[in-house]
Structure formats: structure tokens, C-alpha cells
């Protein structure tokens, strides 16, 4: 039986002149895990927002037999409130219709925690939680809401491998308890390991719905982009050139060479974040060091300004004459960047309307255009589809081949293995191991070091 039927869904966005959804359809069976895949900007999130009734579609029919609950990519939890308060928002159990009944809420949440085997102190403030725990709170929240259909928008993109694995298990146990789950994800691993079926979208259109067990991995990625992806392969065992810069921060004491990529990784709160802050400070003081932040929405771009303004943010003085900006030169320059880096957007569109992948390309384009000697690159591909990721890897490769040095901070071990010459593993705030990436390093070995196991 189909629990969701969506037909002929159309949605047009006036702000950036795009047809986000074009005659889209979707049917989801009761009790299945249904993945939605497609490139950045294919309209997946928009479709889910329409399903969850946050946005209205221009035309189309929707039949849903059940309540929906949605965990969005950027969490909607409130740091100042306790876990308990965050969970009950929207369906507060009340005495006399207006007095919040804390006792009843606690009991209901306890029941959910016991049923699924979660461990959380519900009186704790949400601000103190890790990303994985926050996500758990979001999940409990939608279960508490009595939702039958749970929608997840890229749930694993912000998680470490360990946490993502835990989440996938949680989703399976939700399915066992009769929930229907819709998941948007770029990670092939999510799709192949838990989904029953998946629907492919491209440019707002329905392509097809497939049984997961009938297809293989490469086919999925081909289906997603509509073409075979030429994988960028980076040589990680090349000989490096002369020393470019010697870092001497609290955590990182090493030198970066020409034609070298240093990858730094670790699980959860292992100190990558503090290291990023230190490197950011160094890059601000040194003109030859470019910096691409992991928090691209907060630090990388200003969501409400125009794309061209975002692009020239760092070098606006080059485009001004007697204190006035020269529009024509700016437009030419930005159009050039858009073409060169294949960014899907217009110079006059609002930055915030671009999809995550295109935002990241914009940030990268801006930094690469200054041609820095050293590039500090933090989680460059989280939340970004395969084709865009490859595109970004290709840019990294080109930069490296021009005898530049790159420092890559990422909790995605695959990415680290693919790009780095040397790998540093962090654990509890310190770098505990340095490895050469000459084939001896593997997922398992790095995973072990990341958990603090050195002598084995």
C-alpha cells in the first residue's frame, strides 16, 4: 500500500528564476525506507518541504495517510532550551489545555528512549550536545510527535563515520517499529545499506524509482548525474618540493612542502575544530595562505547578499576607483569565475538561494583565484553530491600540480585517503599519529587510531 502519493508537483521560485520542481512525482510504500537521490539543486529538499507542508506547491496532488515529521539538514533545535523542551515543541502535553505537563512529557520520552535504546539526559541543555546527539534529539522529537512518516534531509553529512553508522542502525530499528522513512542522501553507503527503494531526481524532474537490491553502486552514481563520473585520481606518493611554511601551533608542528597535501582527520570532538581556528588565524595574518572554512554558511558566504558581492568580498578594493565600485569590471570578473568553476548561479542572484554544492564552489573559486601558496581546506565536500565533489577534487589536483601545498581537515576518511600524501590522526585534542599514505594506510587503521588505539 502506498502511504504517500505525489503527482504532477510543480514549484517555481521567483527569487532566482528557477523551476525547482517540474511535474515531479513520488510514491512511497508503507513501512519502507525510501531514498531520494540527485545532484545538489535537483529539488530534493524542496520536494520534502512540500511533503511536510512547510512550503506550498504551485500545482499538483498530494495524498498522505499519516503524520509527517522532518529532520532538516540544518537542525532546528534551540540551544538555550533543554532537550525536554525541544522535544515537546508543537505537541506539548497539557493540563487544562494550556499548562505544560512536564511529568507526562518525561514519561512519554522515557518510553521512547527505552523502546529504541537511546541514552540521553533529557534535562540537559541542547547547546551542550554533540552533533550526533542533537540529531538523536531531532529523531526523538519526531517520534514523540507521533509521526508515521519520518523525513531525513541529508542526516549523515555532518556526522563522523561512527555516528553515521549508529544512525543507520537507528533508522533500521525505526523501520522495524513500523515507521515509513524517507531519506535524502548523497552517500552511496546510506542508500545501499539501508534503503529498500530509491527515487532519482534530476533538475526538478522525476527520472525513475528503483529497487535498491537490483542495482549496483556505480549504477546509482550514474543514475544520479545522468552521466558517468570521471573520477579524479590524485597521486599521493609523489615526491614533494621545498618547504613552503612551518606550522607551529599547539597541536600541529610540521612543515608543508610544495606539491604536497597533508590530511588531518579524527572522530567527533577530537580537536579538528580548534585546529581549524588556529589555522584560520594564521591564514588571516599571512597573505599566501588561503582558507576555505568548514562552516561555509556562517564564515564562507553572506547569505543575503548578491552572488557577485560574495565573490569579490575579499578583494573589493581592486574593483574600486575613488571609493566607488566598478560594476562592469565586477560583472565580467564574476561571470568569468562562474564559467571557470562551473557554478550554477547568476551574478545577481541572492547567495542564499544557491545549493550547498554551488556555495562551496563559490567559496573555493574565490580563494583559488587569489592563487595562494598554501591552502587550508576544511571539510570541503560535506553535503555535496558526487559530481560536484569530483569537480572540487579536480580543482585541488590542479592546484597541487602547480607546486602548491594543501592542508586538508576532514572527518571523511575516504576523502583523506584519496587526497593526502601524509595523514595525521587526531584524538582528544592532539595529533597522535602521522602516517605516510603509500598504500599501508587504510580505513581500518585510521579508524583504530581515531579511537585512540595506537599500540596494536
Amino acid at each position: 500500500m502506498n502511504i504517500i502519493e505525489m503527482n504532477h508537483i510543480c514549484k517555481y521560485f521567483h527569487v532566482n528564476n528557477t523551476q525547482a520542481l517540474d511535474n515531479m512525482r513520488l510514491s512511497v510504500k508503507q513501512g519502507e525506507i525510501h531514498a531520494i537521490v540527485g545532484e545538489n539543486g535537483a529539488g530534493k529538499s524542496t520536494l520534502m518541504k512540500i511533503l511536510h507542508n512547510i512550503e506550498k506547491c504551485d500545482s499538483g496532488e498530494i495524498t498522505i495517510s499519516g503524520n509527517t515529521g522532518m529532520v532538516s539538514q540544518h537542525f532546528r533545535l534551540i540551544d538555550e532550551l533543554s532537550i525536554l523542551e525541544n522535544i515537546i515543541i508543537g505537541v506539548e502535553p497539557c493540563k487544562m489545555g494550556f499548562l505544560i505537563d512536564n511529568k507526562q512529557s518525561k514519561e512519554s520520552i522515557k518510553r521512547i528512549l527505552d523502546k529504541y535504546g537511546f541514552h540521553l539526559d533529557i534535562n540537559e541543555k541542547v547547546g551542550n550536545l554533540s552533533i550526533g546527539q542533537k540529531q538523536l534529539v531531532e529523531i526523538i522529537k519526531i517520534i514523540f510527535n507521533n509521526s508515521d512518516i519520518l523525513i531525513f534531509d541529508e542526516p549523515t553529512s555532518a556526522l563522523s563515520d561512527n555516528e553515521a553508522h549508529k544512525l543507520r542502525e537507528t533508522l533500521l530499528s525505526l523501520k522495524k517499529n513500523g515507521k515509513t522513512i524517507i531519506i535524502i542522501s548523497h552517500k552511496i553507503k546510506d542508500i545501499e545499506s539501508i534503503s529498500d527503494r530509491f527515487t532519482i531526481m534530476r533538475k526538478g524532474q522525476y527520472i525513475e524509482t528503483v529497487e535498491t537490491k537490483n542495482v549496483n553502486l556505480d549504477e546509482i552514481s550514474r543514475h544520479m548525474s545522468g552521466s558517468d563520473i570521471v573520477k579524479t585520481i590524485i597521486n599521493t606518493t609523489n615526491s614533494v618540493g621545498k618547504v613552503l611554511y612551518s606550522f607551529n601551533t599547539k597541536q600541529l608542528k610540521t612543515s608543508i612542502h610544495e606539491n604536497e597535501i597533508i590530511g588531518i582527520t579524527g572522530y567527533g570532538d577530537c580537536g579538528l575544530h580548534t585546529l581549524e581556528n588556529d589555522l584560520e588565524e594564521i591564514s588571516l595574518k599571512n597573505e599566501n595562505i588561503g582558507y576555505v572554512p568548514s562552516d561555509r554558511l556562517g564564515k564562507g558566504v553572506e547569505l543575503n547578499s548578491l552572488l557577485k558581492e560574495t565573490m569579490i568580498a575579499k578583494k573589493r578594493f581592486n574593483f574600486s576607483k575613488i571609493g566607488l565600485l566598478q560594476t562592469k569590471r565586477i560583472n565580467d570578473y564574476c561571470n568569468g569565475l562562474i564559467r571557470k568553476f562551473n557554478i550554477k548561479g547568476y551574478i545577481n542572484s541572492i547567495t542564499g538561494t544557491l545549493s550547498g554544492g554551488n556555495l562551496q564552489k563559490t567559496v573555493l573559486a574565490r580563494v583559488l583565484d587569489t592563487d595562494p601558496e598554501i591552502l587550508v581546506l576544511c571539510s570541503p565536500t560535506w553535503g555535496i553530491d558526487l559530481e560536484s565533489s569530483n569537480n572540487i577534487y579536480n580543482q585541488i589536483k590542479l592546484l597541487k600540480d602547480r607546486n602548491r601545498g594543501i592542508i586538508l581537515l576532514s572527518s571523511d576518511i575516504d576523502e583523506i585517503l584519496k587526497l593526502s600524501n601524509r595523514i595525521f590522526v587526531m584524538y582528544k585534542g592532539n595529533i597522535i599519529k602521522e602516517l605516510k599514505n603509500d598504500g599501508s594506510a587504510s580505513q581500518e587503521i585510521i579508524g583504530k587510531f581515531s579511537s585512540g588505539i595506537i599500540n596494536d
Binding site: 511536510h52 512547510i54 532538516s72 534551540i78 532550551l81 523542551e85 515543541i89 506539548e92 494550556f98 505544560i100
Partner: protein, 270 residues
């Protein structure tokens, strides 16, 4: 009793303003609402002769006006400071126009000398308001959602709750409470004079910040402003210029704000 009398309009207006602060915006039209409701109350009372009708009709009109004000602000996504200022100016224009039409004057509207208006219940209302507000904000569903509206609109949207309701209702609550403050002033004077609130609406905005947006803090803020107001009345007999006494709470607010912002910076840098 004097001190409570002086505190009542401040308490009503600033606690009302606190609701809009919780909803994430500032109602800068408190001054206008106070003056408007004082005018409406005196006018309706003068025409109908009914104390009860005066209060109810005045409040109903205030609810209507504040609804229009907030609805338009929310729906047209206008800047709330600008619309608030527009409401203030519009109200003053409206008052003098209606006043001239009805009473052929742009000045004071007197009630009969013999009129006695009982305003003591408003003092009681004002004094229990801080505690009542704390209860509403912390213990009720409305309070929880109102606070969330002020922090994150999207959180409410994702729970399929209409976030606009909470902001609009907050402006209406602040309109009603500021209106009661204005009615209280009119009752005390047994007349309407232009500029009857004499900046009390603006002071209430200052009090909200002095009280660090907390009902109990606001209570003490009102106390400080009322004491200085009473002192300045006596000060004519003393050597200190009354201006300095009146300026004291503002200086205190400034210091309080600077101190608050400094502690905030410290918290962030950790």
C-alpha cells in the same frame, strides 16, 4: 501607595513590551498605545457616561489597532521599528483630528469635576503582572512557543505551527497592557491631555533593557524610575537640580547595558 501609583503605568507598559521582546521584536509604539487608549477611554466615557463601557470599548479598539499594526508588519515583512514609529505618529495625528471633530478642541478634555474613577484595581493588576508573566512564560504552552518564536522561526515552522500567530498576539498583548497603562493615567487625571503619557512609553522600553528582559528585573526597573520621579517632585525644595535626579535611571540603564554586553562578549570568547 504613592510609589505603587507611580509604578503602575510603567509596569503595565514594560511588561507588555516584554511579550514582544520574547517574540523577537520590539514594540516601539507603546507610547502611542498609551496615549491612544487614554484618549479613547476619556472620549467614550464622556459620550456614554459608562465606566465599564469606556474601558471595554477602548480596549477592543486598541486590540483592533494593534492587530492591524502587527498583521501588516508580519505579512508585509516590514521593519518593525519603522512601522512602530509610523503607528506612534499616526496615533497622535488621529487623536487631534478626532478630538477636534468631536469636542472642537486640540487640547485638554475634562470630565465632570464630580466624577470619581476607581483605578485601584489596575494597581493590583500591575503588581501581580510580573509573577503572572513569569508563570505564563515558563509554565504554559503559549509561553514556550512565544520564547521559541523569538529564537527561531523555522523551529516552529518545522513543527507545523504558525509562527506569525505568536508575534501578532504578542504585539496585541503589549497593546492591551500599554493601553491599560494609558487608561490608568487618564483615570488619575480624570481628563485627557495631549502627551498624557509624557514619555512613559519610551521609558518602559528602557526599563525592559534595564530589567534585562526578565519580569522581576523589570519590576525593580520600574521601582527605580518611579522613585526618581517622586524624588524629582520633591527636589524643588532641595539643592539638587531635578534634572540630575531624573537622569539617574538612564545613566543606570546605560551602565547596565554596557555591563551586560561585556559579559556576553566574555561568554562568546570561551
Amino acid at each position: 501607595m504613592d510609589i505603587f501609583q507611580a509604578m503602575t503605568p510603567f509596569l503595565l507598559a514594560s511588561i507588555g513590551g516584554l511579550y514582544t521582546e520574547y517574540s523577537g521584536t520590539t514594540n516601539v509604539a507603546i507610547e502611542g498605545y498609551m496615549t491612544m487608549s487614554a484618549f479613547l477611554f476619556i472620549t467614550i466615557y464622556k459620550i456614554t457616561g459608562s465606566y465599564f463601557l469606556g474601558i471595554t470599548l477602548a480596549l477592543i479598539l486598541i486590540i483592533l489597532l494593534s492587530f492591524i499594526h502587527s498583521y501588516l508588519t508580519v505579512k508585509l515583512k516590514a521593519n518593525s521599528i519603522i512601522t512602530g514609529l509610523a503607528v506612534n505618529m499616526g496615533f497622535f495625528g488621529l487623536i487631534s483630528t478626532i478630538e477636534f471633530k468631536l469636542f472642537n478642541t486640540k487640547g485638554v478634555i475634562f470630565l465632570e469635576r464630580t466624577t470619581r474613577l476607581d483605578s485601584s484595581w489596575l494597581i493590583v493588576v500591575a503588581l501581580i503582572l510580573p509573577l503572572l508573566t513569569m508563570f505564563i512564560i515558563n509554565k504554559t504552552r503559549y509561553g514556550l512557543r512565544l520564547r521559541i518564536r523569538g529564537i527561531s522561526k523555522k523551529t516552529l515552522m518545522y513543527s507545523n505551527i504558525n509562527p506569525d500567530f505568536y508575534r501578532i498576539s504578542a504585539v496585541i498583548v503589549s497593546g492591551i497592557l500599554a493601553g491599560l497603562g494609558g487608561i490608568f493615567l487618564a483615570m488619575e487625571l480624570r481628563s485627557f491631555i495631549p502627551n498624557i503619557s509624557a514619555g512613559r512609553g519610551w521609558i518602559s522600553l528602557v526599563i525592559i533593557y534595564l530589567g534585562r528582559k526578565h519580569p522581576i528585573g523589570i519590576f525593580f526597573g520600574c521601582l527605580i524610575f518611579s522613585i526618581t520621579q517622586i524624588f524629582s517632585n520633591f527636589s524643588q525644595k532641595m539643592a539638587i537640580p531635578s534634572d540630575i535626579i531624573l537622569a539617574f535611571p538612564y545613566i543606570l540603564t546605560l551602565v547596565a547595558l554596557i555591563l551586560t554586553s561585556r559579559t556576553k562578549v566574555k561568554k562568546d570568547s570561551l
